[in-house]
């Protein structure tokens, strides 16, 4: 197992970071979170054309960069750090991986080049009104119909569901339960019977939509209705990517907290000279580095197809969620009153931390899944 990034990976990270620093200052985050699209088309085009980020982990034969999980996680970490508002997680992490995991060669060749080039946006619709990320909770019904399927049901909390051109939808054959009869389908967002609505959300930097499917025509992804494996694998990959996004975001919070303690003067000294604050910072650093280690390790394990990686995905997700939120809370605390104002940037990351805690399943859920996967 690798415990350090290679020089090439470090260079890739540096280039990505430079780009994001320039394109995603907090003024831009604040502007985009107020829009309903939630992203800037020019920036998206540039990050696709100049850095080829959406296809970083797609094989070259399908128009991608031919890299893997580690590189994808470097991207999400840096995006988390810059809080970039863009449909990357939905298109590149969720939808692309679902297609890579479940699709036939022909389907991949057909769809992936457009996603890799950033020309089209996509997302994965898993959760329904009950908000559960466990695939067993899926109720949306898929009924065979001529050369395809018809979907009936509602998906909710679909990231970027309102702007995606292509929806990858998890559904099940009527009358099945558990892992049985689960399958992934592709649906054009403009197909008749699809109705999408942007949901007002607590974290306006990550847009969520509700999507109704009323007898919509859909194509089966792959060749059978044994999609549970591909879906689970996709969600595990997403958990690893999200863990890395979270440690990136936490680093920004931490840096801002430490900087502030060196500037703010009370009682005739900088607050960073008070041991209560110094020790808080030391503890925050420890917590962050531990979660970072888990996120990096999970990414390496997934890239290496280590048999334990699905368990480690849960470990990393649970660890990063708790750490991120705690760091956000402590960062506000260290900023004092100003930390609770709209003008201070901390709340942008605080809200992302809060939404990341729940997105893809809460820490409680992932710890339980970890234990099951470890056979305890």
């Amino acid at each position: 197992m690798q415990f350090a990034f290679t020089d090439e990976q470090e260079e890739f990270r540096a280039a990505t970071r430079r780009f994001l620093q320039e394109k995603s200052p907090t003024t831009e985050v604040r502007r985009l979170m107020e829009t309903s699209e939630g992203y800037d088309a020019d920036t998206w085009r540039q990050l696709s054309d100049q850095l080829a980020l959406p296809g970083i982990h797609i094989a070259e034969q399908y128009g991608g960069g031919g890299f893997g999980m580690v590189e994808m996680c470097i991207v999400t970490e840096e995006m988390g750090r810059a809080l970039l508002c863009a449909p990357y997680f939905s298109t590149a992490v969720l939808a692309t991986n679902a297609i890579l995991n479940a699709g036939t060669d022909a389907q991949k060749a057909n769809v992936l080049p457009d996603l890799a080039s950033g020309k089209r946006l996509a997302t994965l619709a898993v959760t329904e009104l009950n908000g559960q990320w466990n695939p067993h909770a899926i109720e949306l019904v898929a009924t065979p119909d001529g050369n395809g399927f018809r979907l009936q049901g509602t998906k909710s909390y679909v990231v970027d569901g309102h702007v995606a051109d292509l929806l990858v939808v998890a559904g099940r054959i009527g009358g099945t339960s558990g892992d049985d009869g689960l399958a992934l389908f592709t649906v054009r967002a403009d197909a008749s019977g699809v109705e999408r609505r942007l949901l007002p959300s607590m974290d306006p930097t990550r847009k969520l939509a509700r999507v109704d499917f009323r007898g919509v025509h859909a194509d089966l992804l792959g060749s059978g209705t044994d999609g549970a494996k591909a879906l689970t694998r996709t969600l595990d990959q997403a958990a690893v990517a999200l863990a890395n996004e979270m440690v990136g975001g936490a680093q920004t919070l931490f840096d801002s907290a430490v900087n502030y303690t060196k500037l703010r003067v009370q009682f005739g000294r900088t607050i960073g000279s008070f041991q209560a604050i110094k020790h808080k910072c030391a503890d925050m650093l420890l917590e962050m580095e531990l979660a970072k280690s888990a996120a990096y390790y999970a990414a390496q394990a997934a890239a290496a197809e280590d048999p334990e990686w699905p368990a480690l995905a849960c470990l990393a997700k649970a660890s990063a969620s708790e750490m991120y939120l705690h760091l956000a809370i402590e960062t506000i605390q260290i900023h004092g009153g100003i930390g609770f104002t709209w003008d201070n940037d901390t709340h942008l990351w605080f809200k992302r931390a809060k939404s990341s805690e729940v997105f893809l399943g809460e820490p409680y859920y992932h710890r339980e899944l970890l234990m099951q996967r470890w056979g305890v």
């Binding site: 350090a4 030391a282 888990a294 710890r367």
Partner: protein, 414 residues
């Protein structure tokens, strides 16, 4: 320096072991060969029993040793802290005299730093060393000294100048423990063991050539020892031996470890025995309780993350990058792990946690874990001191205000 590659190193070690390893040799004879070969401490300089190998390749050597079950150099106790300090600051004569016997395990060492009046504030030491011709005369008292009762040598921090500022008036010595004027008294711990001691000095003698570094450099040199102590406490495990274990040498090594580890008998518990947790959960049926499952998962996440963080620090070193913050966080992490582990053990053990001795779970091991854990966050520098180090040296936050400047003579103390 040419770039050494891991495969070459492994091949070379394997060949050397194939030609030399023999479990029927005597332990000391084998260790002497090992010291001559440089494979016992491959990261040390060639002049001093090593091979000048980059730190990152050491693990490969250790794994090759583990694969054939070969015994390594002596490592337990304060030995390697002494070695690291002497390597950096000792004279050639001192290195010659001490290093080999440290590695062969013939000498045991202890660390005479803490005093009743100065633990965290080590620079407040008042044990004195006064020069009388060829000797320094030592007077004063040390405390909590692990292993002093079976050590041949001690690393001694003593005050040599009372008019210099606190940190500049101390010097660093190697002192022979078994000599007149050194009185070692066992000190009973809250867990019932007596692995540490009080050590009283009454006109004990230290020859002038046992001064390490120069007079007044004691604090600077002590920092070397402490840095190695913290790193050693980061909770990384050495690979376990796989090969066959029959042979005269194993028997001798077992006896050596028994003595050396006697003070640490309860110390296997130092990390709270995370390794037992999953087994114990099944054994006690605690794995069926949803609440306990959550607590176990939290603990395992913490312990695994701490292990990977230590590995990241090492990997960064291997690549020649600065260690990054991971390095100094290890000891604090280990302390969190130990506490969390004790909590989960109690949760799983339930009322049986009230028992100790043969009737208690796992024949007393669990009880020992539960009552030994407080040591981890105190020994080798408390959690608070680690946080000070992290915030001041890693995060560059302002230093604590000082009230102990000027001549040490005038500084307020216990």
């Amino acid at each position: 320096m040419s770039k050494m590659n891991e495969a070459d190193v492994r091949a070379e070690v394997r060949a050397w072991l194939a030609a030399n390893w023999d479990p029927e040799m005597s332990l000391v004879a084998w260790r002497n060969e090992l010291v001559d070969s440089g494979w016992g401490m491959p990261q040390w300089p060639e002049k001093w029993h090593g091979r000048g190998l980059p730190v990152g390749l050491v693990r490969a050597v250790e794994e090759e040793f583990a694969n054939v079950g070969a015994v390594g150099v002596a490592r337990s106790g304060v030995r390697l802290l002494a070695a690291a300090t002497l390597l950096e600051h000792g004279t050639d004569r001192q290195k010659e005299k001490y290093l080999r016997r440290i590695l062969t395990g013939e000498d045991t060492w202890c660390q005479l730093f803490s005093e009743p009046g100065s633990g965290s504030d080590l620079a407040g030491a008042t044990t004195r060393a006064d020069l009388h011709g060829d000797f320094w005369l030592i007077n004063g008292q040390k405390v909590w000294t692990t292993s002093a009762h079976h050590a041949n040598y001690g690393l001694l921090l003593a005050r040599t100048d009372w008019d210099a500022p606190k940190h500049e008036g101390m010097s660093y010595f190697v002192i022979e423990i078994r000599q007149p004027g050194v009185d070692v008294q066992p000190l009973k711990q809250m867990n019932g063991h007596a692995s540490f001691n009080q050590v009283f000095f009454t006109d004990a003698q230290v020859p002038t050539d046992s001064l390490v570094g120069r007079v007044g450099e004691g604090w600077k040199i002590a920092m070397t020892t402490l840095a190695h102590e913290r790193r050693g406490a980061d909770g990384l495990n050495v690979p376990t031996r796989k090969g066959a274990r029959a042979g005269r040498m194993y028997e001798e090594e077992r006896r050596e470890l028994e003595t050396a580890n006697q003070p640490y008998k309860w110390y296997p518990q130092r990390a709270g025995r995370v390794d037992l947790i999953l087994d114990r959960a099944k054994e006690t049926g605690a794995n069926k309780d949803l609440h306990i499952r959550q607590e176990i998962a939290k603990l395992m996440i913490l312990a695994k993350s701490a292990e990977w963080t230590a590995r990241r620090a090492r990997a960064a070193q291997q690549q020649g990058r600065p260690q990054g913050p991971e390095g100094s966080l290890g000891k604090l992490a280990a302390s969190h792990v130990a506490r969390a582990c004790a909590r989960v053990h109690t949760l799983m053990t339930g009322t049986d946690a009230l028992l100790s001795g043969p009737e208690s779970p796992r024949n007393g091991i669990i009880a020992e874990i539960l009552i030994s854990v407080p040591a981890i966050s105190i020994a080798g520098g408390t959690d608070e001191i680690q946080r000070n180090i992290i915030s001041e040296r890693v995060l560059d936050l302002p230093k604590e205000p000082r009230f102990d400047t000027g001549p040490f003579r005038n500084v307020r103390r216990n």
